[in-house]
Symmetry: D2
Subunit: 250 residues, 4 copies
């Protein structure tokens, strides 16, 4: 993991919810790199609530993502949804395990055995103990490269997509050496809330942020309502560093 990202640096991951086309993903990759991102995200295999919804470009999505990696120089992170896809992830830099699969232990073990960095998202109703023990399934395979990601939990609140539980950030700091990042895009589901909650996560001591960025949010195939534009992302990236300094973190 050390070659991908200097752990002393705040990890900025950005990109669209789904890879949609070469033009889209390469364009966004260049824009977020210019804005200071260290890593490109983009979904190729999309775990969707309904089987009739767009399921991602799959193998072709991975191909386009790797094309964007070559064009931008950014390492890439993308979600895996099943063990049968593992071979396609050979050139992917960081494999993401999404919320729905946080307790898919067979997947955790196989991804663990690849030795690749794994970005593990907290499940919607996962306690801190369950979250850390899911990470342990990866670590127990001899793979120490796990990034924990708080992305909101399910509560009675219905005005945001999830309730971003930022207190886990300082809590986890006292329990583990693994990096802990936040995803304010899924954590709120509302683009206008992403910048303030991203800054809040930084102030709370997060090690990084995963943010959905789309050049045309209103045309996005998935989750456009929570995507910020590259311009908004660039403005946010600058503030994040200033907030961390002000909070005495760096």
């Amino acid at each position: 993991m050390d070659t991908l990202w200097d752990k002393k640096e705040f990890l900025m991951i950005a990109g669209p919810c789904s890879v949609e086309s070469e033009e889209q993903i390469v364009g966004i990759a260049r824009a977020v790199k210019a804005a200071g991102a260290h890593m490109l995200r983009g979904g190729a295999f999309k775990p969707r609530t309904s089987p009739y919804d767009f399921q991602g470009l799959k193998e072709e999505g991975i191909r386009l993502l790797l094309e964007a990696k070559r064009e931008s120089g950014l390492p890439v992170v993308t979600e895996i949804t099943g063990v049968r896809e593992l071979d396609l992830f050979e050139d992917v830099d960081v494999i993401q395990i999404g919320s729905r699969n946080m307790q898919n232990y067979e997947l955790l073990k196989e991804v663990g055995r690849t030795g690749k960095p794994v970005l593990l998202k907290r499940g919607m109703a996962a306690t801190l103990r369950e979250f850390l023990l899911s990470a342990e399934y990866i670590l127990a395979e001899g793979n120490p490269h796990v990034i924990l990601c708080e992305r909101g939990i399910r509560t009675f609140d219905d005005y945001t997509r999830n309730t971003l539980d930022l207190a886990v950030i300082p809590l986890l700091r006292g329990m583990t050496d693994l990096p802990v990042i936040a995803d304010p895009s899924h954590g709120t589901g509302i683009a206008s809330l992403v910048p303030p909650m991203a800054l809040a996560a930084a102030a709370a001591g997060a090690d990084g942020l995963m943010i959905e960025v789309h050049n045309h949010p209103e045309q996005a195939l998935t989750d456009g309502e929570q995507a910020v534009t590259p311009e908004e992302y660039a403005a946010l990236a600058q503030k994040v560093q200033a907030v961390r300094k002000a909070a005495g973190i760096i």
Copy 2:
């Protein structure tokens, strides 16, 4: 599914949390059959929160479960935790998808393609829509044999393992023709609450019950605190039929 169980009958599934030994599973199988159960449950592949906890007897557990099937004549239901295990489930009558895997869509699709009956447990934080759309992943593979199982949701309540959400039973009756059963063992986590909540589920209109039964609950390797004895199960089974009659269901 029709050869396994007459849909007009109330489905009684019983058995231990985990298959532990031939003596244990065969003994329980005979006891629950005598008490009126139609199907034997027993975990061979156990999805455990910690990688360091007992993970089930796996292949050997399936073998012992099938031995108990031969000895008792009861069809068997057991949980699958990954697609690589599918071949081992060839002689299993009903494949269970547990709560943690309710949104493991790759597993749902592959299990769907076997054409075998699938017992789908509701996820801990799944809405009714998400639950039904997970079933749809199986149905969309051309497999109509899905049994829905309410097993408790995660709420702020901490005095029970989960909050058994019985209102979904009459609600689902109006939304789908799939059978809906309840699991008061996981739904409460406390053996003394299993009988009253089992009767409550029956009164609410459930199509069946899945109950953990162990001949020596205090020695069970997993979840002994929520298991009832075969004697308690037999007493409960009789009341269930009486309650359904009194409620005007049969």
Copy 3:
């Protein structure tokens, strides 16, 4: 309390959400008495989420409720929302403390000091310990006449008004001698779910039921969507007794 209701009997409380007119409350009182109810409910002081919604007929509502008591012979239960109203409750048989006021300790103490029976509803996010300690505020005033009422908790579920948490019924049975009843009307918010959940509560061992009944649910000023008709109530009342017998409770 003993003169109001024989504790060995299952307590059936019924009536409209709000007292609306003499004709309405007297008519419903007679109808629910004929259907087997032991007590009449009806709101005069209504704690409404918005200050601009109908707040109840207040003093006039109490007067009409007492008129219905005279006409039907049924004792009455109605909600209090503040200590300044206490004098108006002199002829009320049972004072209700609603969910919103479960931790309004000043009100609990003053109501406790009246010595009158108190029907205490569980708060939307109250743990069992908090619920019992709120009852203790009444008991500590030397008033042993408390009836506990489970009426649903707030969870992520959005397809019902609340999540009726029936496991508290057998749980409380082991913790207190106070009677425990259920309110499936607020517990579900949907009239068609009231009968199955009422039967479920009875099967789980409840000591009674509080159910909203309206002669014209579609014209009710408040909560009409969760009210059953007197005819539906009469049919339900009969099944309740049969279910209790079948469950071995009586």
Copy 4:
């Protein structure tokens, strides 16, 4: 309210959970004033879950709080638990309505009619709509001086006292002109989490912070485990301003 606090300034409220003695409250008042606080908090009437727990010094507590006000020059905020106490609050600057009484509408109306500033805490299971409509009960009495306070909601999370729901801060910003502050002390229940979550609230755009400060947290009669020392508070107060600047808020 304008004479108490310049709305363009970030409102810093600090003080102990409970007023315990003259020495304690005057000492803390001076210390938090020196650290930059604008207002002193301290509970005299304590709404406690159990009737057998310390209920506050009541009238004497108010007297001591006003003594601390004279000594320090800081305006004071303290919680009211019932309408009968209103007369005692004549010299109190801001009246607090606690979470348990957020829907105690009779209290809201009477406090509204005093015309005094009211600090309204969100209920543990209150939606945003319910929170704003409770404020409306005060506003509708012609009293525009309401401060909204997010103090954590009740979720399945059990490692913190409550789940601080910071997304409501930017959300409320778009829905109301009322000031919105956060209480990270009750919001987490753990002193070490107070500074990071206070900074997170500031970064998210809060208008102020209410923080529990005690000179001897380990000897506090109530909630000592969530109190920071005056020294920790002073260090935090400085960072808060820097974070707000860095976030582009000031």
